[in-house]
Symmetry: C2
Subunit: 278 residues, 2 copies
């Protein structure tokens, strides 16, 4: 089976390495000559170039361009594909993308390998990036079982944990566990920044330790990623944010009322529920 990768960054490059290691032939396309050269030099791909026509022999094509280019990349590569080629992507939000690409190519299935590092680009690509990480496919009613089965086989090569759900269930799930935490955490840092007494602010900065460090981590992360979540998963994120706002208001009210019994009971619940996620 011949694998095509469009976009040789961290994710595309890591997929290429893992598939090559599994004995598959991998062809890569990048906008930049220098990236193609690196992929060839590192022997990650059998062929690489900037021309999407390279994809004409591929059986399965992974669109690994940044989320705001995925739909355009699909439109650009589709004229070059074999009639029975499978097309998939790796973007972290699925609804809009599946809605836009599926009508153009019935053999398209949305995908989301949930892995990454702080580094980006092909030089950061790793053979084992996807090992034990979730890999979600988001088929729709018209997706054929054969297409899903082929992609499932490829995901096995990555040693990822395979999940399947609708694009909508995917987007709301990642809103809860990935996108909501970013805005919850960013608001914590923003709230601390709002302290106007310089002595308190300085003391808070001196005394901050692991609790603040962990709770503020994703809110102090890559701003472009946070923005992308808000832009591409707006509806699901809003739904999660409103639910969060309500929970926060309830706990504030209970503190106002000094209703310690209810606060103790809800802290007990959050303690026991957390273990279902971790």
């Amino acid at each position: 089976m011949k694998i095509g990768i469009v976009g040789l960054g961290l994710i595309g490059g890591s997929l290429a390495i893992a598939f090559k290691k599994a004995g598959l032939e991998v062809i890569g396309v990048s906008r930049k000559d220098s990236t193609c050269q690196t992929a060839l030099d590192r022997q990650i791909v059998a062929q690489a170039g900037t021309d999407l026509a390279l994809m004409k022999t591929a059986d399965v094509v992974f669109l690994c361009t940044p989320i705001d280019y995925v739909i355009d990349s699909a439109k650009a590569v589709i004229p070059h594909l074999k009639p029975d080629a499978i097309l998939t992507d790796v973007a972290s939000v699925k609804g809009e993308i599946v809605q836009a690409i599926a009508p153009l190519w019935p053999n398209f299935v949305g995908g989301h390998p949930m892995a990454g590092t702080a580094e980006q680009g092909i030089n950061a690509a790793l053979e084992d990036l996807f090992v034990d990480a979730p890999y979600v496919l988001t088929p729709i009613e018209t997706t054929s079982q054969k297409t899903i089965a082929t992609l499932q086989e490829l995901i096995k090569h990555l040693q990822s944990r395979y999940y399947s759900c609708s694009p909508e269930v995917h987007d709301q799930s990642v809103a809860w566990i990935s996108h909501l935490p970013v805005f919850v955490s960013a608001s914590l840092i923003a709230a601390c920044m709002s302290e106007e007494d310089p002595e308190i602010l300085e003391m808070a900065q001196s005394l901050a330790s692991s609790g603040f460090r962990d709770t503020s981590r994703v809110g102090g992360g890559n701003p472009e990623l946070g923005l992308m979540m808000a832009q591409y998963n707006k509806d699901a994120l809003r739904r999660s944010l409103y639910a969060y706002q309500q929970e926060l208001e309830q706990i504030i009210n209970k503190i106002e009322e000094e209703n310690w019994e209810v606060i103790a009971s809800s802290l007990n619940k959050t303690q026991s529920q957390r273990s279902r996620y971790i």
Copy 2:
């Protein structure tokens, strides 16, 4: 110098070990005979017993009982103290405690060694628990320089980072960086629990990874600690929670308005500000 420790748990026990290692004589009092026996067996203390009269020869007495017993412990030990003995405590909230004890013993200074482990009790006590951790003293106008200097010397033996501020500055600072994160984080877990679609809930639990793990950690921690923060630091915590609520509302409004420029700019700010705390 003779050190008295009232309450031989994790903090009291660890202070005893560190002071003994520094060559000081340490006397301990615990409510439980078995704890006294453990302290004697481990040779953490020179003398131990359940009678507060043991404190009559101590130069500096550390109250290390749980926060809801500190004021009562002070009242109980004061009749036994030498006239020039220094009294201090280790509770994580200072306002109420200093206000209650300072009028009873002018040589009282509030203190807060910011260290801990997941374990509790004397068996969890560690020699290096306070090394590199902040140790805050909260003197007031009537506190003598000599008293502060003596405690500072003792804190040096612990190799802690020494800070000094008013009880009010301390309580608002820890509200920002320690108590607010707990309720921000607990509300995240509570919000996820509110999802009523079982398929989304199950998928969210399957896909949760490091972002959710870190942001939810302190909200899924010891419920008694969270409750204690709300009870003993209510005013400062409320002030932080209201500021947080405002920041959250602002970011939600900007997402509603699709004002991506402002969201990008505030995520950039939180990213750069976080480094001042970490």
